[in-house]
C-alpha cells in the first residue's frame, strides 16, 4: 500500500458558482479499486460534500454512469489500474444538464422511455385462468439482447446526435421499443412505429455507432435502430405499393 492516484473531479455547486470547476483529490490506489471506490473514499474520508449517484456497484443498476477521461463509463466497472499513474478525470455524463457535481438530470430520458411504451401490449389480454403466454427459446433470442439494457444512459452521452438535437428519442429508448416489437407476445409494433417514425425518432439516427461502442451490456442499440429502420421502410414500401392494405 502507499500507492496513491489523483482524481480530478468536476464540481458544480449552483448555490455558489455558475460554472463547473475541477477539484483534485488523492485517493489510495490498489489494483482492484474502481473509480467508484475512489469516489466513495473521497466522500467518506476527504470531502463529504461531493455528490454522485451509485447503488449496486456491480454493473446492473445503471446509476453510476459518468465520464472518465472523456469516455462514458460505469464507474463501478472502470478500474483505476487502467489509468494509473496519470490522474483520472471524472465528470458528469455528457449531453445531460448537471444538477450538482456529478449528478445529471435524467428526466428527459425517462419521459422518452415512457413515450415508446416499453411494455407488452395486446389487443386482447388473456385472463389469468388461461395461463401464461408461451414462448420458445428462439422467440426469446429475437429480443433478448435488447432486453439487457440497464438504462445507464452511457449511450446518450456518447451519441453526438442527441447532443446536437436534444429532441432525438435516443438509442436506449429505441432499442427498448424494439425489444418489445420483437417480442412474440407483443402486438403493438404499429403503435410504436407511429410514435417513432418522426424526424426525431428512428430517422434522426445517422448510425454513428458510438452508442453500441460504449454500452456496458452489449445491447447494440445502433443495430436495433438500423433493423428498426429497415423493417419500418419495408412496411412503408408495402403500404406504398399496396395502398389498400395487406391486413
Amino acid at each position: 500500500m502507499g500507492d496513491r492516484i489523483t482524481l480530478q473531479v468536476a464540481r458544480y455547486r449552483p448555490e455558489k458558482e455558475s460554472e463547473a470547476t475541477f477539484q483534485e483529490y488523492e485517493v489510495p490506489y490498489t489494483k482492484d479499486w474502481v473509480v467508484l471506490d475512489g469516489l466513495n473514499y473521497i466522500k467518506d474520508r476527504v470531502d463529504g460534500t461531493l455528490s454522485y449517484r451509485w447503488s449496486c456497484r456491480m454493473g446492473i443498476c445503471g446509476s453510476c454512469g459518468m465520464m472518465v477521461n472523456g469516455e462514458p463509463k460505469l464507474t463501478c466497472a472502470t478500474f483505476l489500474a487502467d489509468y494509473a499513474p496519470a490522474p483520472v478525470r471524472v465528470e458528469p455524463l455528457t449531453n445531460f444538464p448537471v444538477i450538482r457535481d456529478l449528478i445529471v438530470d435524467i428526466g428527459d430520458f425517462m419521459r422518452k422511455l415512457v413515450s415508446v411504451k416499453p411494455w407488452i401490449i395486446r389487443e386482447q389480454e388473456k385472463p389469468l385462468s388461461q395461463g401464461e403466454y408461451r414462448q420458445t427459446p428462439q422467440e426469446m433470442d429475437e429480443y433478448k439482447q435488447f432486453s439487457m439494457c440497464i438504462n445507464c444512459m452511457l449511450c446518450y452521452a456518447a451519441c453526438p446526435i442527441y447532443g446536437l438535437d436534444p429532441k432525438f428519442v435516443g438509442p436506449a429508448a429505441i432499442a427498448l421499443a424494439q425489444r418489445y416489437n420483437l417480442d412474440s407476445r407483443d402486438e403493438a409494433s404499429t403503435e410504436r412505429l407511429e410514435i417513432l417514425s418522426d424526424h426525431e425518432g428512428i430517422w434522426g439516427c445517422t448510425f454513428v455507432g458510438e452508442c453500441t461502442k460504449v454500452c456496458p451490456k452489449h445491447v447494440d442499440p445502433a443495430g436495433a435502430i438500423q433493423r428498426y429502420k429497415l423493417s419500418a421502410a419495408l412496411e412503408a414500401l408495402k403500404s406504398f405499393l399496396i395502398p389498400w392494405g395487406t391486413s
Partner: protein, 120 residues
Amino acid sequence: MVVKRQLEPLLWLLFSAGGVFAALLMPSLLLLFGLAFPLGVLAPPSYEHLRAVLSHPFTLLVLFFLCTLSLFHWAHRFRYTLYDGLQIKHLNEVITVLCYGGAIIGSVAAAYLMLRLGMA
C-alpha cells in the same frame, strides 16, 4: 404530416440502395477513369470499344440506376450532415429542397444522357 411520415422511410430506402450501388461499382470505376487511365498506368479503352460497352442497354440501365440512386444517397446523407453537423436546423426546408431537388435534376439529366447515347 402523413405524407412526410411515409416519405422518410422511402427516402432512407433510396439512400440505402444508393449506398450499395455506389459501394459496389464506384471504387473500380473511379480507379480506372479517375486515376489509372488519365495517369497512363493502364491503357484507356479505345473509343469504339467503350462506346460499344456503354451503349449496350444493360450497361445504360445499370449506369442509370447507379447515377440516380447514388444521387439520392448523396442527397439524404448530405441533408443530415448539414442538419446535424452545421446545426442549421432553421434552414431545414431549404436544405431538403436543395438536396432532393438536386438529386431529381441529376437523375433527369442522367436519364436524358443515357437515352441519347442509347439512341445515337
